[in-house]
Amino acid sequence: MEVRQISLFLENKKGRLWEAMEVLAKAKINIRALSIADTSDFGILRLIVPDPEKAEKVLTKSNFTVRENDVIAVGVSDKPGGLAGILKILTDADINVEYMYAFVEKSGKKAVVVLRTDSISNGKKALKKAGVAVLSPKEVYSL
């Protein structure tokens, strides 16, 4: 099982992000992590939520274009060089990172990095081989 991420297409229009958040709020879906990629005329909102299927369903119902895909989540010790170490492993394995975002978990000891590599399975394999703590969906959703 991989960690699932919800992506949604946002037209560059006032209030659109708020509308998406409203849909999730009404469905009582809490957001674990989020990032927005923006271009001149559209944006892509990426979300990690405890119940991706439900989120996809309610968002689709409200006419959002939604996709679910796999990402890798790793726990990184919250200190200088933590992220660099992870990226070094991927670079050495010749794996390209499409995008990533990070957040600090509640206890503050660890940072969680969400990574999207070209091939999720190769990325995961390389990280595991180097002894990095790759988080399970359950661990991520309950953060």
Binding site: Q5, F9, E11, D41, I44, T65, V66, R67, N69
Partner: protein, 432 residues
Amino acid sequence: MIWNKEAECMRIGKRENLQLERMRAILRRAYKNVPYYKKRFDEMNVKPGDIKSLKDLKNFPFTTKTDLREGYPFGLFAVPRKEIIEVHTSSGTTGKPTVSGYTKKDIEIWGEVVARALTMCGASKDDIIQNGYGYGLFTGGLGVHYGAQRIGATVVPVSAGQTKRHLDIMQDFGSTILTCTPSYALYLTEAAVEAGINIKKLKLKAGCFGAEMWTDRMRDEIEKRFHLMALNIYGLTEIIGPGVAQECDQKNGLHIFEDHFYPEVVSPETLEPLPDGEKGELVLTTLTREGMPMIRFRTRDITTLRREICKCGRTLVRMDRITGRTDDMLKIRGVLIFPYQIEKALLEIKGVEPHYQIIVTRPQHLDEIEVQVETSKKLFSDEVKHLEEVKKKIEKRIENSIGLRVKVTLVEPKTLPRSEGKAKRVIDKRQL
């Protein structure tokens, strides 16, 4: 099934004799009863008696929408007003509308030609025809209505733009034939899915779609979503309304009911008639209309006439699906473009929905085209680069088709206006 075998399958030579006889008669009536025609014929120094063969019609003047506006409202009637039992107008997007007047016999002819068209779609007495064309001044609603009644089918006059009612009736009545604009048909499929209707359970077997330009790709989409046979109908208010031509189940062009409407295709530049098989502007002459004869009416629609005999057994000439209009032509940086070309390019790309809008602007003395395309689940990706690739791919495809660079903007699904009548595809913001 063929509604009027004698007329629709008539030997070509015999039909030409009939057309010639009718052409002479209508030119005589137009000349005698309509001052506008008398003036124009005299100016061109032509007389109804000059018609020796069908081809001689080319010496007679054209009639344009502007001419009709000048005669507004009743100036082109060829009978006293009291003989007119019904009038329709076509939408006046630019200036005054044009008026079309029908005598009792004209209404009968209209019923006859639409009956032929609906029969081509498989309609008979046994069918329930759900009519989604607008009733009122627009000819679509009543035209289909008269044709359906001529056949003796059960017609349900829902009219345009009552989506919920359309969906309810479709399910509850078990309608077998749907008539509306193709863009509204697509809209209905979306609405049906949203309402959770099991489309496979509907009894629809055919759709008679027209009143706007559409493409084969749109046909495929409608057929796939609605599980019916989608056929193209053509007509215009100035000539009679719907029922000038209709596609048969061969889906190989629309048969023109040429015993009532004589077609020519002329070059949009020289206005000279073109041989069959060449693309140009369709010009129509009514051969039997009493109330308002139309002599060489310039339809502005671009098509090609084909004489090869159709497998359906009809000997009627066929016209290609309309591929553009001489007056909707956009002139962008001096290049002539039809919105149809952009639509066709768009729909060749997998995952692109047939909903789009073309916006023309002139920011710095140079025309720019923006094409707004709705995203779909199939096009969307979590990666920006993939979406940028989709945009570039669409831009490239359109550029290959029209020879100009365009900017494609992806917009959210269901945000572009869905018209319940004719889809508005082009917004020209240039201030010329």
